[in-house]
Structure formats: structure tokens, C-alpha cells
């Protein structure tokens, strides 16, 4: 196990460095170099510009600049927002709280609904019930979230007046955006649950369990569901990471102040430090979550540690 973890961490290092390099490349490709951004409309005198370039390391080769940038972000200096002058890291972390709440609720609803639908679908395989549930889950993951979000606002806020259409406040502000995201994810979880349960069902240990005379309830819950959960857990973990990075579209529909909406807003206001900081944050959160998911996966399924250790995981 320890060997696997070490290997996995070693593999993650170049990916993380590479991702940060990509973000840095994007940062440099954005219109306006750091000095122009600093001075706004005014053009600084050439000698001031030269002095500043030296000070900021902009006269160094790209790769050296990248390492200067790495040192800066590790020490927590992610730059400041052009508009509010608030440090980007603090700003992002504050937004992250909102995104975190939304993620937890969405994943909880999606897992509960997705597992129940998938389980029912697999147990009633090839019956009309199964057909309807499969149609519903395909509908779920074919749903354009921005449209679905607007329809939910139309029904629950405009027509019924039950829930607030936008913003962040109490629990009721979370319901509609969480439902929107959960619809999409639960559709995928339901399909995956059904497929993976039906696959486990064909395995020998299930036949053995039945031959032993175990009741169908025990076979389905203890033998089929438990083994089927492994791929589902991985999928949910990966989705969790993606959502933690901010659901840019859903957050925008509901004017929900998370990380995703922060980046979208920053693009409109051309607040470049915030765009770059937001992207960096998203990528780091996703990579770390994926790493954790992989480790949990190796922990619950010992086969992974042996099979994957040698190859690309």
C-alpha cells in the first residue's frame, strides 16, 4: 500500500507542476502585461518600466519566471484583484465556502436519487419500470443545466413563490442550484449503478451466494450492491472534485457567489489576477480530489494496488 501511495504521489507531481505551467502560460497570454495592468491607462516612463521589469523578474527567461511564479503562489501571494484590491487567494477561499456548500448538497441529492433509481432499474431489468427509469436517467444527463435552472426558477420562484431565485443566504438559497446540478449527475449515477450491478450479477460469487441458499435481499444488498459500489464511488469522487472547482454555469444562472461565478464575472470585468487565481484554484482542487479518490479506491479495492502499480493510472 505504502509503495502504491508513494508511486501515485510521484506521478501526481509532474501533473500538478504541468497544470500550473499551463495556468501560468494562460496568464502570460492574457492581454496586458503585469506592468500595464498596474498602471492602467497611463503609460509609465521607459526607465520606470525597465526598473519594474527587473524587480518583477520579467527580464528573465520564461522558465525562470515560471519558478518565480511558483514560489509566489506557494507563499500565498496570488496577486490582488484590480477592482477591489483584495488579495486573490482570500477572495477565492471566501467564494470557495459557497461552492463547497453547494457541492455537498448536490452530491448528496444526486447520490441518493441516482443509487435508488439505478438499484430499482437493475432489480427490474427489462421490465417497463426499467425502461421508464432508463429514459428518465438519460433525460437527466442530457439536460442543459442552464435551461433546467431557468425552468426551476420559473416554477418554484416565479409561479409558486416558494424559493428564492438567486443569491446566497440560508438553506433555501441552496435548494434550486443543488437540484439543478443533482439532476444532471444523478442521471449518470443511475446508469452507472444499473450497469455495474448487472455486471456483478453475472459473477461467480453471486451464484455461490445463491447456491448457499442466501435470501435474495442478502444477495442484492451484501453481494451485488457492495461490489457494484466501487466504480460508483470513484465516479462520485471525480464529480465531487469537478463541482468543488465551481459550477460556473449553474452558479451564474442562480447568481450564486461561488468560485465558478467569480471567474465568469472576472472575465467580463477583465480582472486578470482573479481569472488566473480562480483557474489555478480550480485545477489544484480537482487534482487533489482526484488523488484522494485514487487512494481511497486503492484502499477499498486491493486489486488496484497490484494491477495499477506498474502501469499508468
Amino acid at each position: 500500500m505504502r509503495g502504491y501511495l508513494a508511486k501515485r504521489l510521484l506521478q501526481a507531481a509532474p501533473t500538478i507542476l504541468g497544470s500550473i505551467l499551463l495556468v501560468y502560460g494562460i496568464a502570460r497570454a492574457l492581454p496586458g502585461d503585469p506592468i500595464t495592468v498596474m498602471f492602467g491607462e497611463l503609460e509609465p516612463p521607459p526607465e520606470v518600466r525597465e526598473e519594474l521589469e527587473k524587480h518583477l523578474g520579467l527580464d528573465q527567461p520564461f522558465i525562470i519566471q515560471y519558478f518565480i511564479y511558483l514560489r509566489r503562489i506557494i507563499s500565498g501571494d496570488w496577486g490582488k484583484s484590480i477592482f477591489t484590491a483584495e488579495p486573490v487567494l482570500e477572495f477565492t477561499l471566501r467564494r470557495f465556502q459557497a461552492t463547497f456548500e453547494l457541492t455537498i448538497l448536490s452530491i448528496a441529492i444526486a447520490s441518493a436519487v441516482g443509487l435508488a433509481v439505478g438499484f430499482a432499474s437493475a432489480m427490474r431489468r427489462d421490465t417497463p419500470t426499467d425502461k421508464v427509469l432508463r429514459l428518465a436517467s438519460t433525460a437527466g444527463f442530457s439536460m442543459p443545466v442552464f435551461w433546467w435552472g431557468l425552468l426551476l426558477i420559473l416554477l418554484f420562484s416565479v409561479q409558486l413563490g416558494l424559493l428564492p431565485p438567486m443569491g446566497r443566504g440560508g438553506f433555501q438559497h441552496l435548494v434550486l442550484p443543488a437540484l439543478t446540478l443533482a439532476t444532471f449527475i444523478s442521471g449518470m449515477i443511475a446508469r452507472l449503478t444499473r450497469a455495474s450491478m448487472l455486471e456483478v450479477l453475472t459473477q461467480d460469487h453471486v451464484t455461490t451466494a445463491r447456491a448457499k441458499g442466501l435470501s435474495e435481499t442478502v444477495v442484492w444488498t451484501k453481494h451485488v450492491l457492495r461490489n457494484a459500489l466501487i466504480p460508483i464511488a470513484t465516479f462520485v469522487g471525480l464529480q465531487f472534485g469537478t463541482l468543488l472547482g465551481g459550477a460556473a454555469i449553474t452558479e451564474t444562472v442562480f447568481a450564486y457567489p461561488g468560485v465558478g461565478k467569480m471567474v465568469v464575472d472576472a472575465i467580463f470585468t477583465r480582472d486578470y489576477p482573479v481569472i488566473v487565481g480562480g483557474l489555478l484554484f480550480v485545477v489544484i482542487v480537482i487534482l487533489i480530489t482526484n488523488l484522494i479518490v485514487d487512494m481511497i479506491y486503492a484502499f477499498i479495492d486491493p486489486r488496484v494496488r497490484y494491477e495499477r502499480a506498474g502501469s499508468y493510472a
Partner: protein, 298 residues
């Protein structure tokens, strides 16, 4: 060149055989009611996109402010939008945007992903290590954020959004092809090709690649759905198609301030997008079952 009777006969048989295959494929893809519906939607998009100017009752871009935000009526079956434009005509012209997004993102993603996947699966070693890290890095950027970054650098337009979607889909093909090549390269036909002296490039492109078309086509169908939804989403944020392009996502973006007064202007373009996404996903599933019956579980 003149063909002998025998050659003609062979050619004729091959042609008949192919025709039979096509008929069989079509029969399979339209077997159930739902997959027949999906197939009809896909054909419908192609027909509408090619005949948009003929079949749409009004122009998609000429505004008529006297008729703004009218609910569906006999004159305007799907109503009008905030500038008095006929929504039905805009939805019909929007199928061209769909085709543009699907084909262009495919043109970016497929060659890039396939070539890198072939190289890394076939040669292994350093190439594979580097390529695998590139996959990891690109996959750690969610499509929307990668697109946001590209749009931030290059400015908002449908072309840039489509380019971003293509780039973000390339690693999906790369991973798929790489995985398939790893198992294919151990097969006997590759060994035979090597034995008669075929080089790496020839083996990859003439021998292995044709065997991967099935999974690639299936993946391309699912990616097409993802591409049109992402493009519509970016347009909905105001970062994709710009007015007056009749992109369905942009129609939602323009109409969202009139949610209370004209819900049809939101509901209908979105419904069109949902139906197409649903049909393409179902179509992809039917294709997958056809190509690989073992996958029928999903």
C-alpha cells in the same frame, strides 16, 4: 480501364453486400421506438440545416419591435423574441450552428487525440509517459474553465468557444485510442504485418487504426452532445456566439431577462436543445450496442 465480367461480378457482389450491411445497420438503429425517434431527430437536424432558408417562415435576424415577445400564435407558431424575431425560424437556423460546433470541435479533437493516442500506445516509453501526463493535465481542466481561459485570452466568439471545446475533448480520444492500441498491438495481425516488413507508421495507420473506428465513432457521438451543450452554455454566459447568431444558448441568454413576461422565449429554444441532446445520447447508445453487444448492460 476495362473490367472483365468476373471483376464486375465481384464488384457487384461487394456493393450488394455493403448495401445489405447498411440496411442491417439502419434496421438495428431504428429497432426500438426510442432509437427510431433518435435517428429521426439526427436526420431532421441535417435536413433542416441544409434547407433552413427554404423552410423557415421568416428571416432569423430581421427585428420587428412592434411584434416583440408575442406568445405562440398561428402566424408565429413558437412566438417571437425580445426583438420581434420569429423563434421558430431562429431555432431552424440554429441547427446550422449545431452542425458547425459538432464538426469543428470534432476536426480539432479527433486528429489531435488519435495521433497522440496511437503514438503513445504504440511506442510506449518516454513518449507514452509524456503523453499520459498531458492527458492528466488537460483532463484536470473542466471543459467550461478551459473554454473560459481561452475566451479570456482570445475574446468571446463562437469560433473560440468551439476551438476550446475541441481542445478539451482531444484527451478523451487520446485516452481511448491509447488504451485500445495497447491491446491491439499484441494481436496476431500486427505481428504478421511486422513480419512482412511493415514500418511503425504503416502498422499504426493502415492496420491498427481501422480496427478502432467502432469505439471512436461511438465516442464521437457522445462528444458531439457534450460539444453542443458546452457551446450553448458558453453562449448562454455571453461568451460564445454573439448576436444575431441564432445559437440556441445565445437565444436563452438574450431572453433570460424576460423570464416573467415571455417564458416561451426561454422554454422553446432550451427544449430544442434538450431534445437534440437526448436524441444524440440515445443514438450513441444504440450505436454502441450495435458495435459492441457486450456493452449492452449500460
Amino acid at each position: 480501364m476495362r473490367l472483365s465480367i468476373q471483376e464486375l461480378d465481384t464488384k457487384g457482389r461487394v456493393l450488394m453486400h455493403r448495401l445489405g450491411d447498411t440496411v442491417e445497420t439502419l434496421r438495428f438503429l431504428t429497432k426500438s421506438r426510442i432509437s427510431a425517434f433518435a435517428f429521426a431527430v439526427v436526420v431532421g437536424i441535417l435536413v433542416l440545416a441544409t434547407t433552413a432558408d427554404l423552410v423557415s417562415p421568416y428571416s432569423y435576424h430581421v427585428a420587428d419591435l412592434a411584434k416583440r415577445l408575442m406568445p405562440p400564435s398561428l402566424h408565429h407558431p413558437l412566438g417571437t423574441d425580445q426583438l420581434g424575431r420569429d423563434i421558430l425560424s431562429r431555432i431552424i437556423h440554429g441547427t446550422r450552428v449545431l452542425l458547425y460546433v459538432m464538426s469543428m470541435s470534432l476536426l480539432v479533437a479527433l486528429p489531435l487525440g488519435t495521433v497522440l493516442g496511437l503514438l503513445s500506445g504504440f511506442y510506449g516509453g518516454v513518449i507514452d509517459h509524456v503523453a499520459s501526463r498531458i492527458i492528466d493535465i488537460l483532463l484536470s481542466f473542466p471543459t467550461v474553465f478551459l473554454a473560459l481561459a481561452i475566451v479570456a485570452v482570445m475574446g468571446p466568439s463562437l469560433e473560440n468557444a468551439t476551438l476550446a471545446i475541441g481542445i478539451s475533448q482531444a484527451p478523451i480520444y487520446m485516452r481511448l485510442v491509447r488504451g485500445q492500441v495497447l491491446s491491439e498491438r499484441e494481436r496476431l495481425y500486427v505481428e504478421s504485418a511486422r513480419a512482412i516488413g511493415a514500418g511503425g507508421g504503416r502498422i499504426m495507420f493502415r492496420h491498427i487504426l481501422p480496427n478502432l473506428t467502432g469505439p471512436i465513432i461511438v465516442q464521437a457521438t457522445f462528444n458531439a452532445t457534450a460539444a453542443i451543450i458546452s457551446a450553448a452554455a458558453l453562449s448562454f454566459l455571453g461568451l460564445g456566439a454573439q448576436p444575431p447568431t441564432p445559437c440556441w444558448g445565445a437565444m436563452l441568454y438574450e431572453a433570460k431577462d424576460y423570464l416573467r413576461t415571455a417564458p416561451h422565449a426561454i422554454a422553446l429554444p432550451g427544449l430544442a436543445l434538450f431534445i437534440v441532446a437526448y436524441a444524440l445520447n440515445t443514438f450513441g447508445e444504440a450505436l454502441r450496442d450495435y458495435m459492441d453487444p457486450r456493452m449492452k448492460l449500460l
